[in-house]
Symmetry: C2
Subunit: 500 residues, 2 copies
């Protein structure tokens, strides 16, 4: 067995452990009985420990040292070695005591954040947040970086991502999207939503609609499942067993449908991974930004398109005959595209969403650079909301305390949400160039050509390239906000008759 | 850390791996998408291999050698060491190549058995059966035995079981039960079952009835689940996460109810294990016979009692108001206790069931001893059915090919079913001595006293004692067929007015 083959054998072992862990986690979220939680935690800890032990085995470091200097590697080999090195370094560069200290702190911070939210009192979370920021800085220092310390954190969630790359994306959005939203707000009128808000939407019919749409898009239910969970997610062990969840509110039919389309996007990506690279790092789905592009594509750019509304209106009428009586595709389209600045990121529409992310990105940059103090954070947050979205939180719970991420130490994560939106727009623009009948296809419910384009240009490429390289290969352009700005501008103009 | 503590640490690790494996298996049976099967097999193989590697670690042998000669051990320590030795020996005494050879043969035999059944042609399975018997003999020789070779196989499924112990149990049954059945058959009359067979029984109502009964018995649904599966079973990782399944037929409401009570019996046993012995061998449920006693207790001795029918008839009427219109508790009781010799073991009633097992036991004894040839087996089978049950299979599929066990190499397993029936009767007789209000309690749906008796005398004792010792401790008597014979005789007399 060559050193490279030995590496792949060891990586397969680790991958199998993780597959098993992901089934345990799915079960924990979806159907585990409540009293099982403590022993499930022991099982999951065993999985983490075992995977970590095998990944940090000194032999992996030796193999990597031996083979990564090789010059004439093919694309796949080179990607496997790059990704194995990245995983090995991430697993070995942090001292064990520091990892344990962070894990303990995360448990504490989650509790203080929860309490702070409940009592609407930032001071309860303040000290733990300061420690979390300190930990993030130390983590960055252990991993190392060329430019800014924050770059080391961004890189954890999207390989190769830096402030230098992100700043132009966000400034493009700020300059173009913020004025557009201002126009819409000043115009003041919105569609009549009484047909949505004054009805009850049966859960069973929502389930049927979600299932029909997910099947139509091309999610393979012979290789996956749809279930109910409090926090919707897409998980499961491998491409043959992809499991997504959603939740239902009988007051709102859109949450479950677009949530289902979002998770279907993640799910079709997982199902489309290159199967000849099973168990290899290069065969995995790419970074969080690319993954989010696939979910946002179906949720927003397809799901909220005029053409999709036209295709889906008969389904709506089939599953909700009374609720949809007299509702047109135009009305449906207006309703699912309401642009309205709000305080809560997870409830934000397509137009305002990225401004929520931009605020978090700017704050994280300043926090890691030490340019803003934790004590000044709540007011800084409110100021930025006022500046970019024209609204101000009446309390801390709706302001700086709304997201769980920082309590979990996930600093550097937020930007991947916006990358997802930008990549989705950029990919769709390219796909449309190759698919001249795209609008008609969507209107007729023929989603296969678009899914196949994604299969060919994104899914089947796994993690062979770094995310930015993959976008460039698929679209011919470096990551950029332009396609998203064009997409949003044209949509808002059609919807509201305004342009910035 | 003492050697004993090190042993417990290593056993905890192995137990956690098995807990994880049992969740993977449950998921595979209950809800895994079909295409996931090949990779699930890889995950399960990884689990088996890893558990096996850790169990066969030479250090475990060293520790056992070091500590098992110790004289002054308490009951728990002694049980843990005895059980660890048993597991270690079972895992190490078979050569790896032999284990692999058996595994490969099992896959082949399962296929040829399936085909033989489908085509009603014993000759298709003949050679694989002969090999399976050869393997079973070799396995017995590797493990070793004092008396008969078959004893080594019996011991695998019920620690300490031998032909010398089993023969008197079966002969007691044969002498007493066979004539009883003959009497019933000769009497010729049976209850009118048209109210059962001429109705449709809604699956939803069956689910509600099963759930209500399982809750009433005391299964804790905060620490377990009920699901649907093709092959009913009770599994799950640990006592906080016990998962049983059932299946439904709209033509027959008894299968799901008594199946649910059967699995509830297994489930309450698992939930009642001694929690201070979590992860220790002594804390596990005892052998298959004791486990089966708990399922048979609730399924048959309680579930088919006159008192239980009286308690449950209002539930039947609640969930099946139309079907049960005009049906009395007496009619229900008659219907669930139909005694009728049949060809198929899994469909057999309480009275005839053990004769099906006895036939298999006699055949296995002779096969392993070489007293009967594989070619003579099909006719020998039919002869024994004729002798003990008075009926003869019209073909091989309903005869010698009906059970999956031999194709899986499970020779020595069948007797545990009968042990379960005998233990259940013996335990219930003892419990009734301690619970003078038992009949009234069952009639009123107060199942707690009986469950508590089982908790105190069986469940909480885990595997501290060998099965036969546990029965003796709980009942004051060695295992014996007497209680079962008394129970069955009295029931048949009440039902049919006959006695043997």
């Amino acid at each position: 067995m060559s050193a490279y083959e030995e590496l792949l054998t060891r990586l397969k072992d680790i991958d199998l452990i993780r597959q098993i862990g992901s089934l345990l986690s799915w079960d924990q979220e979806v159907l585990m009985p409540p009293k099982a939680a403590p022993l499930r935690a022991e099982q999951l800890a065993w999985i983490s420990k075992t995977a970590h032990e095998r990944l940090t085995d000194a032999r992996i470091g030796e193999i990597l040292d031996e083979i990564e200097s090789n010059d004439d590697m093919d694309e796949i080999t080179s990607a496997n070695i790059r990704l194995a090195r990245e995983a090995f370094d991430r697993a070995t560069k942090l001292p064990t005591e520091f990892v344990e200290e962070m894990a303990k702190h995360r448990s504490r911070a989650l509790i203080s954040w929860t309490e702070a939210r409940e009592k609407d009192d930032f001071s309860i979370f303040r000290d733990d947040l300061e420690i979390a920021i300190g930990h993030a800085r130390m983590k960055a220092d252990f991993f190392g970086y060329d430019g800014l310390r924050y770059d080391a954190l961004l890189d954890l969630y999207e390989s190769g991502l830096t402030v230098e790359r992100l700043d132009p994306l966000f400034s493009g959005l700020r300059e173009n999207v913020a004025p557009l939203i201002k126009e819409v707000v000043e115009r003041g009128e919105g569609p009549d939503l009484s047909w949505v808000t004054e009805s009850t939407w049966s859960q069973k019919a929502q389930e049927e609609l979600s299932q029909s749409v997910s099947e139509a898009i091309g999610f393979d239910f012979e290789a996956g499942r749809r279930d109910l969970s409090t926090h919707p997610f897409c998980g499961g062990p491998n491409p043959d067993d992809v499991r997504w969840t959603t939740r239902y509110s009988e007051e709102d039919p859109f949450g479950s449908l677009f949530g289902s389309m979002h998770e279907t996007g993640h799910g079709t990506y997982e199902q489309g991974r290159p199967r000849d690279l099973d168990f290899q790092p290069a065969g995995k789905a790419n970074g969080l930004g690319i993954h989010e592009s696939q979910s946002r594509l179906w949720e927003n750019q397809i799901g909220r398109s005029r053409e999709f509304c036209e295709w889906s209106i008969p389904l709506w009428r089939k599953f909700f005959p009374e609720n949809m009586d007299g509702v047109s595709a135009e009305q449906l389209w207006q309703a699912v595209n309401l642009v309205k600045p709000g305080l809560i990121r997870v409830d934000a529409d397509e137009a305002t969403y990225n401004l929520h992310i931009m605020i978090r990105y700017e704050i994280e940059k300043q926090l890691i650079a030490g340019e803003i103090d934790v004590d000044d954070l709540p007011d800084a947050w409110d100021e930025m909301y006022n500046e970019y979205l024209g609204i101000r939180a009446p309390n801390r719970t709706l302001g700086v305390l709304q997201d769980i991420h920082w309590s979990m130490g996930a600093i550097g994560y937020f930007p991947t949400y916006t990358l997802g939106n930008l990549y989705a727009a950029q990919l769709l623009e390219s796909a449309r160039n190759d698919l001249p009948e795209h609008d008609t296809q969507i209107r007729e419910g023929d989603f296969f050509p678009l899914l196949k384009w994604m299969r060919d240009n994104v899914h089947s490429r796994g993690s062979v390239l770094e995310p930015a390289e993959l976008i460039k290969e698929a679209t011919g352009q470096d990551p950029s906000p332009d396609a998203f700005i064009r997409y949003l501008g044209s949509k808002v103009e059609r919807l509201y008759g305004v342009s910035a």
